[in-house]
Amino acid sequence: MADLGFVIAMSVVTLFWGIVGGVVPWFIPKGPNRGVVVTMLVLTAVCCYLFWLIAILAQLNPLFGPSLTNETIWYLQYHWQ
C-alpha cells in the first residue's frame, strides 16, 4: 500500500480534481451564469474523483488473480515484460 506508484497516482489525481473543483470556481467571472458554472465544476470534480477513487480502491488489495488461457500466458510472458 505504500507503493510509490500508487502514491504518485493518488496525489496527481487528487490534485487535479481538487484544482478543478476547488480552485477554478474562484476564477469564474461574475455574471448571471456564475452559479450554474460553479455548481457544474464542483459536481463534476466530486463525481469523477469519486468514480476514479472507487476503481483504484477496489484493485488495491485483490483477493484473487485473473485466470488466463495458456496462449495468453505465453504471449504475456514474452511480450509484456
Partner: protein
C-alpha cells in the same frame, strides 16, 4: 443562479389600461412575453365575450390565408425565408388587410375556375379526336376503302357487312342511328352485356381500345378508355341505348355521318385544341403571377393576424372597472420585471397617443403563484426533463442545476465505453455547432426535434461516457494499456509456481497475488487491462460494479436528503430540520452509510494474504440487523458494539420521524392558545355585537368562562388537523424507511446496465469483426470491408441508439424516483407568459408554412 436554484419570486399585479390604449399596451406586452394573464370573466361563455366579433373577423382572415397558402404551396412557389416580425396591426388598418385578402380570394377563385373549365374542355376535345380517329375504322364503305387500314381482327364481319350502307338503310325504311363515345375499359364488358340484354340484338356494338392513357375530364386521373360505336334501328331502341350510356357514365360525342363531315370535324377540333392550349398557358402564367405577388406578403399577414387574434383573446380576459372607462387586467409577473412592465405600459400609452397613462399596481394575494425558472439554451434541456416529472412548487429547490452533471454522469456509469462515447459526443458536437442552421432547427420530424432539443444533454452524456469508458478500460470491448499492467506473469515462473510444462499441460491458470512480484500495485487509471484477457473477468467486475453502485447510490440519496434542508430553511420551518431532516439522515447513514463504510474498510484492510477468510459484507450486514454479532469473525475490534449502537439509533429515529412533527405542531397551536386567544378572538368577532353582549351576560350569570365555549369549537378543528397531519407523516415515514432499502437496491441497475452494455459490445466484436480479422490475408482484406460496415451499423443501432435510450431511461428513473422523492414535491404550475413568439400557428401544424 437563485433563479435556477429556486425559481423567480412572483407577484400578482393589476393593470389599469385606458380603453383607447389597451390594444397597444397588450401588443407591447405580447412582444416582451413578461406576464401571464388571469381570466377575470371565467363564467362568461366564449360567444358572449366582448370582442367576439373581432375574433370572428380574424378567423375569417385566417380562413382566406389558409386558402392562399394552399394555392401557393400547390403552385410550388417558395415563401420568402426572412426573419420578419411585424407588429400587430392597429384596428384601423385591419379593414385594409381584410379587403386585400378578400379581393385576392375572389380573383384567385375566378382564375382557378376558368382554368378548370378550360382544362375540362381540352380533355373532352382530345377524347373526341381519339374517338373520331378510332371509329373511322369501324364503318367501312367499300367505295371509300382506303389502302392502309388497321383491321380489327375481332370484328371481321363488319367489313363485309354492306348493310351498313346508308342507301340500303333508307331502302329498309328504318332509321339507322349511331351513338358513339368513350367508356372506361373496366366497364366495357358489363356495358356490352347490358346492351345485348336490353336491346335484344337490335343494336350492334363495335369498340376498340385507346392506346394511350387519357385524363378523364371529371376526375383528372389517367384512365384507359374504350371507343365504342353503337348502331341501332328505331327511335325507341335509341332512347334505351341513350339511357344505358348515361348509366355507364359514357362520354358521348356526335358521330359524323360522312367522311367529309368527319374530316371537317377533325380539322376544326385540331384548331380548337391548339387555341385552347395557348389560352391555358396564358391562364396558368397569370395565375402564377397572382400567386407570386400574394406570396410576398402572405407571411407577414399570417403573423399579423395571429398577433391580432391573440390580443383580442387577452382583451376578452379583462374586465371593466366601475366607471366603465378603464380596463382592468390581473397578471402574474416576476417581481424583478415590474419596472420593465411599467416601461412597456408607458410605451403602449405613448404609441396610442393617450393622455392618461396606464399603470400597474401590485396586489397581495394568498393564491400560490405559478413557477417561473429562467433558463438558457444549456439548462433548458435539463429543466425540461425535471419538469416532465412535475413542475416545482413555488420557490422550492429545483433539482435541475444538479441534474446537469449527475444525470449525464449516471448515464455514463451505465453506458461506459470510450469508443461509443466518442461517437456520441461527436454527433452532439455537430448538432451544437450547427444549431443556428435554419434547416436543422425547423424540420417537422418529431424524433429529430427531440434529439435536437437535447443536444447539450447528449454532448455531456458523451463526454462523461468517454471518462467512464477510460476508467472501465473499455473501448469497443477492448482495453487500453497506457501505463502498463500491474500484474506480472513472469513472476509466477520466477517463483517456480508454474513450470514451463504447465502451459502446455493446463488450459487455464490463475495468477496468485500472494506470490511476490505478481501484483505490482493497482493500475493508476481505472481497471487493469489484464482483466480483459482473463476468463474470470466478470467475477472481479461484478463485485467491483455492485459495490460501486451501492456507494454511488447512498451518496446520491444522502445528497437528496441534504437538499431538503434548503426547503426547510427557506420556508422557515426550522422545526422540520430537527424533526424530519435529522431522523431521515440518521436512518440513512446509520444503516446504509455504515454499509458503505464496511465496503471501503474491506477494500483497504483485507489483502490477498487474508483472502481465505475474507468476510462477506452482506452476511455482516444481515447479522447486524439480527443482532448476531458472534456468528462470524468481526471485521475490526468493537464491531458488535458499534453495530448495535447504530441499529438502535436508526430504530429510534423512526418514531421521531413519525410523531415528532405532528406532536410539535399540535403543541404549537394548542399550548399557545392561552396568551393570544387567537382562534377564540376570531370566533368572537364573527358573532354580532348583540349576541356577544348576551353571551357575556349569560356567562357572568352562569359563572362559566367564555373561553371554554371557544376552545371546544377550536379543539374540534384542531383534532382534525392533528389526525390529518399524523396520517400524512405516517405515510411519509413508511415511504421513506421502506424506500431507503428498495432505492439502495434500485441503484444496482447501474451495475446491471453497464454489464449488459459490455457484454453486447463483446459479443458484437467476437461474432462480427473477429470473424473477418481471422481470415487469410488476401481474402480477409476484401471481406473486412463489408464486415466492418455491418459492425458499424450494428454498433450504431444496437449499442448507441438502443442501449443509449435504455441507459437514458434508467438514469432518468433514478433521478425522478430515487433522488427526487427525498426532497422534491413537484406540484406546481408552470408559468405560461403571454408572448407572441410562443403562440402556436395552426398553419405550421398543417405543414403549410
Amino acid at each position: 443562479m437563485s433563479s435556477l436554484l429556486r425559481g423567480e419570486e412572483m407577484c400578482l399585479a393589476q393593470l389599469f389600461l385606458q380603453s383607447g390604449s389597451s390594444y397597444d399596451c397588450i401588443s407591447e406586452l405580447g412582444e416582451l412575453g413578461l406576464v401571464e394573464f388571469r381570466d377575470l370573466n371565467p363564467s362568461v361563455n366564449a360567444f358572449q365575450r366582448k370582442h367576439v366579433n373581432e375574433i370572428k373577423k380574424c378567423e375569417e382572415m385566417e380562413r382566406i390565408l389558409g386558402y392562399l397558402l394552399r394555392e401557393v404551396k400547390r403552385a410550388d412557389i417558395s415563401l420568402p425565408e426572412g426573419d420578419v416580425n411585424p407588429v400587430a396591426p392597429l384596428p384601423k388598418h385591419v379593414m385594409a388587410i381584410m379587403e386585400q385578402l378578400q379581393r385576392l380570394e375572389v380573383e384567385l377563385g375566378e382564375v382557378t375556375r376558368n382554368k378548370e373549365k378550360l382544362q375540362r374542355n381540352l380533355l373532352e376535345l382530345t377524347e373526341y379526336t381519339h374517338m373520331l380517329r378510332i371509329s373511322r375504322n369501324f364503318v367501312q364503305k367499300s367505295s371509300e376503302r382506303e389502302p392502309l387500314q388497321v383491321q380489327y381482327e375481332e370484328f371481321p364481319f363488319l367489313e363485309k357487312d354492306t348493310m351498313m350502307d346508308y342507301s340500303s338503310m333508307q331502302r329498309l325504311g328504318a332509321r339507322l342511328g349511331f351513338i358513339s363515345g368513350l367508356v372506361k375499359r373496366t366497364k366495357i364488358g358489363a356495358f356490352e352485356r347490358m346492351l345485348w340484354r336490353v336491346c335484344k340484338g337490335y343494336t350492334i356494338l363495335s369498340y376498340a381500345e385507346v392506346d394511350e392513357y387519357l385524363d378523364d375530364p371529371d376526375t383528372r386521373e389517367p384512365t384507359k378508355s374504350v371507343v365504342f360505336l353503337i348502331s341501332y334501328w328505331g327511335d325507341q331502341i335509341g332512347q334505351k341505348v341513350k339511357k344505358i350510356c348515361d348509366c355507364y357514365h359514357c362520354h358521348v360525342y356526335p358521330y359524323p355521318s360522312s367522311n367529309e363531315e368527319r374530316n371537317d370535324v377533325v380539322e376544326g377540333l385540331r384548331t380548337r385544341i391548339q387555341d385552347l392550349h395557348t389560352v391555358l398557358h396564358r391562364t396558368e402564367d397569370y395565375l402564377k403571377q397572382v400567386l407570386m405577388k400574394a406570396s410576398e406578403s402572405v407571411y407577414t399577414w399570417v403573423l399579423q393576424v395571429k398577433k391580432m387574434k391573440a390580443i383580442y383573446y387577452i382583451l376578452n380576459l379583462c374586465s371593466f372597472d366601475v366607471t366603465n372607462k378603464c380596463l382592468i387586467a390581473e397578471v402574474w409577473c416576476p417581481v424583478d420585471d415590474i419596472p420593465t412592465l411599467r416601461r412597456a405600459l408607458e410605451e403602449g400609452s405613448r404609441k396610442s397617443g393617450a393622455t392618461v397613462p396606464s399603470f400597474v399596481n401590485r396586489i397581495p394575494t394568498n393564491d400560490t403563484p405559478p413557477t417561473l425558472i429562467k433558463t438558457n439554451k444549456l439548462t433548458s434541456g435539463f429543466q425540461n426533463i425535471v419538469d416532465a416529472y412535475g413542475v416545482g412548487s413555488y420557490r422550492e429547490v429545483n433539482p435541475a442545476p444538479f441534474t446537469i452533471i449527475t444525470f449525464p454522469f449516471l448515464f455514463a456509469v451505465m453506458f461506459g465505453d470510450l469508443g461509443h462515447g466518442v461517437i456520441m459526443a461527436l454527433f452532439a458536437l455537430w448538432m451544437v455547432l450547427y444549431e443556428n442552421n435554419r434547416k436543422l432547427k425547423n424540420t417537422r420530424n418529431e424524433i429529430w426535434n427531440t434529439f435536437f432539443e437535447g443536444r447539450y444533454i447528449i454532448l455531456l452524456m458523451g463526454l462523461f461516457s468517454i471518462y467512464t469508458g477510460l476508467i472501465y478500460n473499455d473501448c469497443f470491448s477492448k482495453s487500453l494499456n497506457i501505463f502498463g499492467s500491474g500484474w506480472n506473469v513472469s513472476a509466477m515462473f520466477r517463483a517456480e509456481v508454474w513450470k514451463n510444462g504447465d502451459i502446455s499441460g493446463n488450459r487455464l491458470l490463475t495468477l496468485d497475488p500472494n506470490v511476490t512480484g505478481v501484483f505490482n500495485g493497482p493500475y493508476p487509471l481505472g481497471i487493469d487491462p489484464i482483466w480483459n484477457l482473463a476468463t474470470n473477468r466478470l467475477t472481479f467486475l461484478n463485485s467491483y460494479k455492485m459495490k460501486m453502485s451501492v456507494i454511488l447510490g447512498v451518496i446520491h440519496m444522502s445528497f437528496g436528503v441534504i437538499l431538503s434542508t434548503y426547503n426547510h430553511l427557506h420556508f422557515r420551518k426550522k422545526h422540520n430540520l430537527y424533526l424530519v431532516f435529522l431522523p431521515e439522515l440518521l436512518f440513512l447513514l446509520c444503516l446504509f452509510g455504515y454499509l458503505v463504510f464496511m465496503i471501503i474498510y474491506k477494500w483497504l484492510v483485507f489483502t490477498a494474504k487474508d483472502s481465505r477468510h475474507a468476510p462477506s459484507i452482506l452476511i455482516h450486514f444481515i447479522n447486524m440487523f439480527l443482532m448476531q454479532g458472534d456468528a462470524v469473525q468481526p471485521l475490526y475490534p468493537g464491531q458488535t458494539g458499534l453495530q448495535v449502537f447504530l441499529v438502535v439509533i436508526a430504530v429510534l429515529s423512526v418514531p421521531v420521524l413519525l410523531l415528532g412533527k405532528p406532536v410539535y405542531l399540535y403543541w404549537l397551536r394548542h399550548g399557545n392558545h392561552r396568551p393570544g386567544l387567537y382562534r377564540g378572538y376570531e370566533r368572537v368577532r364573527r358573532n354580532s355585537e348583540e349576541e356577544l353582549y348576551l353571551m357575556r351576560a349569560q356567562d357572568m350569570e352562569e359563572g362559566s368562562s367564555h373561553s371554554d365555549l371557544s376552545t371546544s369549537g377550536e379543539r374540534q378543528t384542531e383534532e382534525f388537523d392533528f389526525a390529518d397531519e399524523l396520517l400524512h407523516q405516517a405515510i411519509h415515514t413508511i415511504e421513506y424507511c421502506l424506500g431507503c432499502v428498495s432505492n439502495t437496491a434500485s441503484y444496482l441497475r447501474l451495475w446491471a446496465l453497464s454489464l449488459a452494455h459490455a457484454q453486447l459490445s463483446e459479443v458484437l466484436w467476437a461474432m462480427v469483426m473477429r470473424v473477418a480479422l481471422r481470415m487469410d490475408t488476401r481474402l480477409g482484406v476484401l471481406f473486412l470491408v463489408p464486415v466492418f460496415g455491418l459492425f458499424a451499423v450494428l454498433t450504431v443501432t444496437i449499442l448507441l441508439v438502443m442501449e443509449g435510450l435504455s441507459a437514458f431511461l434508467h438514469a432518468l428513473r433514478l433521478h425522478w424516483v430515487e433522488f427526487q422523492n427525498k426532497f422534491y414535491s413537484g406540484t406546481g404550475v408552470k408559468f405560461c407568459p403571454f408572448a407572441f413568439s410562443l403562440l402556436p400557428s395552426s398553419f405550421e401544424q398543417h405543414g403549410l408554412l
